[in-house]
């Protein structure tokens, strides 16, 4: 059962513009959400996270927004840079330690 969904398999954005990645989840028990970034031939790298008690978390160019009522979160990257081209995974967790991942969104930043 796919409890975390990323419905956009790919996103193309011009350098300097905003990238918006979306993620939906079905399990209302999730209380912690993470975004990971993955380059080819490397493991996923932690990017940013948010607790369910918050609705926004910022870290430099990266901001994650959480809408609990809609069971939706998004990642904003501003401004987008060529080095941001990668696969981005949304993940969710509750008190059972495991991470439940979405299928990923491939971001391509055009010069």
């Amino acid at each position: 059962d796919q409890q975390v969904k990323q419905n956009s398999p790919s996103l193309s954005v011009q350098e300097g513009r905003i990238s918006i990645l979306n993620c939906d989840y079905t399990n209302s028990m999730f209380d912690y959400f993470l975004w990971y970034k993955k380059y080819p031939a490397e493991g996923p790298t932690f990017l940013i996270s948010i607790s369910s008690i918050k609705d926004k978390n910022e870290d430099g160019r990266f901001t994650v927004f959480l809408n609990k009522s809609a069971k939706h979160l998004s990642l904003h990257i501003v401004p987008s840079q060529p080095g941001d081209s990668a696969v981005y995974f949304c993940a969710a967790q509750y008190n059972d330690y495991k991470l439940s991942f979405g299928a990923g969104t491939t971001v391509t930043v055009r010069a």
């Binding site: 975390v4 990323q6 912690y32 993470l34 990971y36 031939a41 490397e42 493991g43 996923p44 790298t45 932690f46 996270s49 995974f89 993940a91 967790q93 059972d96 330690y97 495991k98 991470l99 439940s100 991942f101 979405g102 299928a103 990923g104």
Partner: protein, 112 residues
């Protein structure tokens, strides 16, 4: 400070064989989780080891087993390999029940 390391990088096996994958956690971490990532999908949780015991398990058959050693390193064993076991196997480490997990580069397993 070494991150999470995995060996081997690539592996080719035939159906019915057995395979062992290895993982060394990030320095200071005591918890190891294993994930399977099939092509075009996100990582799927296999199991997690803490204090040398399996703490939690995902929806994988008993053909998948693991072990954690006193130095916190871990092995993933898969018996009676099927074609569908072909995937990238990721190891992640963390400290205790910390939410943030650090991933290794993975082992690419191909079953022919």
């Amino acid at each position: 400070d070494a991150g999470v390391t995995q060996s081997p990088t690539h592996l080719i096996k035939t159906r019915g064989q057995q395979v062992t994958l290895r993982c060394s956690p990030k320095s200071g971490h005591d918890t190891v989780s294993w994930y399977q990532q099939a092509l075009g999908q996100g990582p799927q949780f296999i199991f997690q080891y803490y204090e040398e015991e399996e703490r939690q398990r995902g929806n994988f058959p008993d053909r998948f087993s693991g072990h954690q050693f006193p130095n916190y390193s871990s092995e993933l064993n898969v018996n009676a390999l099927l074609l569908g076991d072909s995937a990238l196997y990721l190891c992640a480490s963390s400290l205790g029940s910390a939410f943030e997990q650090f991933f290794g580069p993975g082992t690419r397993l191909t079953v022919l």
